[in-house]
């Protein structure tokens, strides 16, 4: 697999991840999403205090060529956003799971909603099926 998938994270079919620590969750896009978009140059994201809904669009991430919606892995209230990305959106390409996190939120229905998210193994399976589609 040419794309990194980390253990211990929850994934969406739309290629976002959530890392739940205590009662907060950091959210970002996966290595696959970052590599597919290529150069990330611009983000539109909510500010702290805003509510997001599971699988609702909470912003956009843009490359030179394209715009891509961001979908929230979990419902909740945004507690902070990654300020580094304002001047260095390329952090998402360089480090999609660490320095390139996008928002942090306080999940409101984690126990219920986690059932509809993908495990690392399930997400790898999804990537394999996408990869197969793109073979000649």
């Amino acid at each position: 697999m040419p794309y990194q998938v980390l253990d211990g994270l929850f994934y969406t079919k739309e290629h976002e991840w959530a890392r739940v620590t205590g009662d907060t969750a950091k959210v970002g896009i996966t290595d696959y999403a970052a590599k597919t978009l290529n150069d990330i140059v611009y983000l539109t994201i909510p500010s702290a205090g805003q509510e997001v809904k599971q699988l609702g669009s909470f912003g956009t991430v843009e490359s030179i060529k394209a715009v891509s919606e961001l979908y929230a892995p979990l419902s909740g209230t945004v507690t902070s956003t990654n300020q580094e990305l304002t001047n260095h959106p390329e952090l998402i390409n360089e480090s999609p799971y660490e320095a390139g996190w996008i928002i942090e939120l306080k999940p409101s229905k984690f126990e219920e909603e986690k059932k509809s998210l993908l495990s690392p193994r399930q997400y790898e399976e999804l990537l394999r099926s996408l990869d197969a589609e793109h073979q000649d």
Binding site: D39, Y42, T44, T60, E62, I64, K65, N93
Partner: protein
């Protein structure tokens, strides 16, 4: 889908997409890296998908003169001319470069996606003139070498003294031992060359690989962001048959003392009243404008539409070209581009978007 002679390199190193019927790379490493390589040093592009058509014969000069709004017969041999192919309503059928080899031989470099209709349009306009057109696209390979270090990147491979060549001229020579036409043209805003190799074999691939000693491989993504940052329109996106040269801000290609080419009567009347919309640049304070986004004046009244938009790696801002109402819209006007329901602030600016004393072919030499 068609493949260029350099396909194996693209497949091994690039992310592939379909473009005008060809399998082409959209990027190798990253569009921003490739873009900056061309602005700061040199990059190479496979442009073999572009159409190359020889127009030859005793009447070749009269034939091309009857097609284009720019004088070609008066040009010296060895001149490369950017011009437009028009229909009788002065709509733009294509934009192209015409290489004048001599009075009876011209080489046209046209857009890949327009090739079939261009050939049909030109043949229909030929009348009884003794001239023929030969599509040599599949028998040649075309590589663009672009950037401030283009001379240094190409010179080791050719005996032609490149520094002495003027922009928009061409010459026959060899590159890495392969027969070639070298023209000092390109579509990135930078100085550079386009090489038409009379070869499609591994010898063409060897030229590409030898050029990599002095230039970075660059793909379609960077080609698009570079031409947009330079303010150069892309046929099919920024102009089409419903657009005339005055609207497209390409009135400079029209030789004012020339008549009797396809579309000139209509153009003459258009020039009297001036265009009602015109292609302009818009630089944004925030957000990235994209194709088909609406442009409004500061009060919110619609004045136009974006035809190409991207993020400028040099300016680190969103930039667009599009059409705005004329003559009411002026350079420097504050406007808004509606980005997914959010009216976002921008300003009408001249092309190119970058400071041309720092970037592009007019830049001052480094100290």
């Amino acid at each position: 889908m068609k493949r260029t002679p350099l396909y194996d390199f693209h497949r091994a190193h690039g992310k592939m997409v379909e473009f005008a019927g060809y399998e082409m790379p959209i990027w190798y490493t990253s569009t921003v890296e490739e873009h900056m390589a061309v602005r700061n040093r040199a990059g190479i592009f496979d442009v073999s998908h572009m159409g190359r058509v020889n127009v030859t014969g005793p009447d070749a000069g009269r034939f091309v003169e009857s097609l284009f709004p720019t004088w070609l017969g008066k040009q010296p041999n060895g001149k490369s001319v950017y011009t437009l192919l028009l229909n009788k309503d002065a709509g733009i059928v294509d934009d192209l470069i015409v290489l004048k080899m001599d009075e009876e031989r011209y080489l046209l470099v046209i857009n890949a996606a327009s090739k079939a209709k261009d050939l049909k349009h030109m043949e229909a306009s030929r009348g009884g003139l003794d001239s023929k057109m030969d599509d040599i696209t599949d028998f040649t390979t075309m590589i663009a070498v672009q950037g401030p270090s283009a001379v240094e990147a190409l010179q080791p491979l050719t005996p032609l003294p490149l520094a002495e060549m003027k922009r928009f001229t061409h010459s026959s020579s060899t590159v890495n031992g392969v027969g070639a036409i070298i023209t000092r043209t390109g579509y990135t805003g930078e100085d550079g060359f386009e090489i038409i190799l009379h070869d499609t074999t591994s010898r063409a691939m060897a030229v590409w690989e030898a050029l990599m000693n002095g230039a970075a491989p660059c793909a379609l993504g960077a080609r698009d962001s570079l031409r947009l940052e330079a303010g150069l329109p892309l046929y099919g996106s920024d102009m089409d048959e419903a657009t005339n040269p005055l609207e497209a801000d390409l009135g400079w290609v029209i030789s004012k003392d020339k008549q009797s080419y396809v579309g000139w009567e209509r153009l003459a009347s258009l020039m009297q009243k001036g265009p009602s919309k015109v292609r302009r640049g818009i630089i944004m304070n925030e957000r990235i404008p994209r194709r088909e986004f609406k442009v409004t004046d500061n009060a919110g009244a619609e004045i136009g539409m974006v035809t190409s938009g991207t993020f400028s790696p040099i300016l680190k801002k969103g930039i667009a070209m599009g059409y705005v109402k004329a003559p009411s819209s002026q350079l420097g006007d504050a406007v808004k581009v509606v980005v997914r329901d959010a009216p976002s602030n921008g300003k009408i600016v001249k092309f190119p978007f970058y400071d041309d004393s720092l970037y592009g072919w007019k830049r001052k030499p480094h100290q």
